[in-house]
């Protein structure tokens, strides 16, 4: 039902865009009563209506708009419009006029939005799991595999970061070796992400500097599904490192992540193994200290490092 509605919306948009082009070409006088012909932009108060909602929907499907579709043209919509305009080389002014409308229509056609809508994933909690051993990226929806793509992972000397991360950056124009899409991860000790490639033959191998490399066509398919904050787990064998310093809340890095991984191995719940010493990790440390009858300080001291067997 939802799919049908989306298809209908796209069809309406296409028809509207075409009709607009025809009218414009014929030099027809624009009818002010037709809300769909108005230029959409950031105003005070904000513009709102079905046309804004349609715009947000399309931008979202194209991967530029990650917020809720509200039908209100606010700063988030403005940013999405600008990003889209930059991508299609239209003057990046943030206003949706005839040129941008046409570009949207082209983008929809070129990117086969209709087919993308047909393949729209079911609603649910979406996260990505990258298996370093299998060199696959799997989209999970409510923890059930939805789609799996082949990928390349880090070389032995530059391994992909094992752990639980989140998407913190999305971009369409990194170019070069990063292909057509870039989705950055919040790894605290370097710049890692999921991206396309100009070396498609490397997919399925250990070839990258730690990033997750995908075919451009696959990463383009993945891009609209992924939102800022989408969780990404990179799983695989992790090199156990020894820790020789005490750690406490607020610290970040490899050693924190090692503690998190070891806590999880020991049966405690440190939250995401993302190398960030936050509340969940502190709570897990306290729980472990209480379990062993030690003072519950929440700090990783030498006793904890010994109990976890990661003391250098």
């Amino acid at each position: 039902m939802r799919r049908k509605v989306l298809i209908l919306l796209v069809a309406i948009l296409l028809l509207t865009a075409n009709a607009y082009s025809i009218n414009e070409a014929a030099g027809a006088i624009k009818c002010n009563c037709d809300e769909r012909s108005r230029v959409l932009k950031l105003t005070s108060p904000y513009m709102s209506g079905d046309d804004v909602e349609d715009l947000q929907l399309i931008l979202r499907k194209l991967g530029f708009f990650n917020a809720d579709v509200t039908g209100v043209f606010g700063p988030v919509t403005l940013a999405a419009v600008k990003e889209f305009q930059q991508w299609v080389n239209v003057d990046s002014v943030g206003e949706v006029g005839p040129k941008t409308q046409a570009a949207l229509t082209t983008a929809i056609t070129e990117h086969s939005l209709v087919s993308a809508l047909l393949a729209a994933p079911p609603d649910g909690d979406l996260r990505l799991v990258i298996d370093v051993d299998k060199r696959t990226l799997t989209v999970l929806i409510d923890n059930k595999p939805y789609k799996t793509f082949p990928c390349a992972v880090g070389k032995t000397s530059t391994k992909s970061p094992i752990g639980d991360w989140a998407i913190i950056q999305k971009s369409t124009n990194w170019g070069g070796g990063f292909g057509t899409r870039w989705m950055g991860l919040n790894v605290p000790w370097g710049i890692f992400g999921i991206h396309g490639t100009n070396k498609p033959s490397s997919i399925g191998t250990t070839a990258s500097g730690g990033c997750i490399r995908m075919f451009n066509r696959d990463v383009e398919q993945l891009y609209p599904l992924v939102k800022m904050g989408t969780r990404v787990s990179i799983v695989g064998p992790y090199p156990k490192i020894k820790v020789n310093q005490q750690l406490s809340k607020g610290q970040t890095g490899h050693e924190v992540q090692q503690v998190q991984l070891s806590l999880r191995d020991a049966g405690f719940s440190p939250g995401f193994t993302d190398g960030r010493f936050g509340n969940d990790t502190e709570q897990a440390i306290k729980q472990m200290q209480e379990f062993y009858g030690l003072m519950a300080t929440g700090k990783v001291d030498f006793n904890i490092l010994n109990l976890l067997r990661i003391k250098r």
């Binding site: 005490q246 049966g267 729980q287 062993y292 009858g293 030690l294 003072m295 030498f302 006793n303």
Partner: protein, 440 residues
């Protein structure tokens, strides 16, 4: 006139008889008949709440072990359905309090790590189902810790031991060996002397794992009065008892050359494993097992020593846990309660080995000498536990909450130097006096 009077008298008699009958019926409803039998033609559903403590890596098998134990009961009674709920330890007491308030507690309640046995009037005195012979066979500490207000409320399941671990190669003691101390026990005076004599530069005679609650509890248990109230709710700790507890800490922390005991010792485990520290403690069962294995792995030959005693009676620190039976406000009948009591007995007998496997507990009623003799005796000599309850107060969580919110902060204030011994003593004594709870 006479007719009216007769009618009035008749009405009074009828109403009175009806009220009396109703009262008798109500009393019968709340009176438990332990002689009742489980009716094979009746269907029973028993609700069991079991606490699920933090069990790294073994939580799954803890649950399945208990489910298997329950299944051995239901296999004997096809008409009894047991619904077992595993409740996270942190939520257990709050949920019970809520259930009691609503008049609908579970039939069986088991907190695997708490000593509290009495939770108010909805609890079934389990002693009704214990024969005199059986009660007489229970060890006095087990009986004391399963009882409140002179009645048995729990079926003893297991004990938890708190001990110290010694490195005999480093511990200097006079006239006796570490092994002898393990079996005979020792006093705080012997403990201070041993620590003092074992103290060397860079090699402490003692490292503490904790200076908070476990130390206070260990010292209190060593006085023979682990809980501040007796099982009838009377204040057990006098001002001089509290002063005695404060004095033990004072003597301990005044030993010359010892590293400060009132700061977190971030490497106490390494100090012991590397053979530097002569003594480490207090150790709970989990840390005892870990450290024992680790010390052996590093080539040490450690010995477990009981918590020193503050009296000549050689009390050490061993707390029990018991299976409890409840009824609901809408009493489900004598045979239902009988079925619950039978299940409690079955669980009480079978849970000990499960707690031993997962929490290094000492299963009650079984010969259990972990770590080999004589160390095993120091760990599991139940007869050296105080013949006194470890918990107090009828409301769920009263003891834990009061201890955590009042007693422990006062203790921490004292050991960290923010309060004098005198202030700690008087303030704790006053707070205990102020703790009033309804007598059952």
């Amino acid at each position: 006139m006479l007719r009216r009077l007769l009618l009035f008298l008749l009405a009074v008699v009828v109403i009175g008889t009806a009220l009396y009958a109703l009262r008798s019926r109500m009393i019968r409803e709340y009176c438990i008949n332990p002689q009742a039998k489980i009716d094979p033609k009746q269907d029973y559903t028993l609700k069991v709440w079991i606490g699920k403590p933090v069990l790294p890596n073994t939580a799954g098998s803890y649950v399945s072990d208990i489910e298997d134990l329950v299944a051995t009961y239901t296999s004997n009674y096809t008409n009894i359905t047991v619904e077992t709920y595993f409740i996270p330890q942190l939520q257990l007491e709050a949920k019970l309090a809520e259930a009691i308030k609503g008049g609908d507690p579970p039939d069986i309640y088991f907190n695997p790590i708490s000593s509290q046995v009495f939770f108010g009037e909805l609890q079934v005195p389990f002693g009704l189902y214990v024969s005199k012979e059986q009660a007489a066979s229970w060890l006095p500490p087990a009986m004391a810790q399963a009882s409140a207000n002179g009645k048995i409320y729990g079926y003893p399941t297991a004990f938890y031991s708190r001990v110290f671990m010694a490195n005999p190669a480093r511990l200097t003691i006079e006239r006796v060996t570490s092994e002898q101390l393990a079996t005979m026990g020792w006093t705080w005076e012997q403990f201070y002397t041993a620590v003092e004599k074992s103290n060397q530069p860079g090699k402490p005679g003692l490292v503490l794992t904790n200076y908070g609650d476990p130390v206070l509890r260990a010292i209190a248990a060593s006085t023979g009065k682990p809980a501040p109230f007796d099982d009838s709710g009377r204040l057990l700790w006098s001002e001089s008892d509290i002063a005695n507890i404060a004095e033990i800490w004072h003597r301990l922390s005044s030993i010359q050359g010892l590293p400060a005991l009132n700061v977190v010792n971030e490497d106490c485990l390494i100090q012991f494993i590397q053979g530097k520290a002569a003594l480490i403690g207090p150790l709970n069962p989990q840390l005892t097992v870990w450290l024992w294995n680790e010390a052996h792995r590093k080539g040490l030959d450690p010995v477990l020593l009981p918590v020193p005693s503050a009296t000549e009676d050689q009390f050490t620190d061993l707390s029990a846990t018991s299976v409890l039976v409840f009824r609901q406000v809408s009493y489900q009948g004598h045979s239902h309660t009988k079925a619950a009591a039978e299940l409690a007995r079955h669980l009480g007998e079978g849970l000990g080995p499960i707690l031993s496997k997962h929490l290094a507990a000492i299963p009650y009623g079984e010969s259990y000498l972990p770590f080999g003799a004589p160390t095993g005796q120091a760990y599991s000599d139940i007869l050296r536990a105080a013949v006194a309850p470890y918990s107090y107060g009828p409301a769920p969580g009263v003891a834990n909450n009061h201890w955590a919110e009042v007693i422990n902060p006062l203790w921490l204030g004292y050991v960290t130097g923010k309060k004098t011994a005198g202030e700690f003593t008087s303030q704790l004594y006053t707070s205990l006096h102020n703790l009033a709870y309804a007598q059952p």
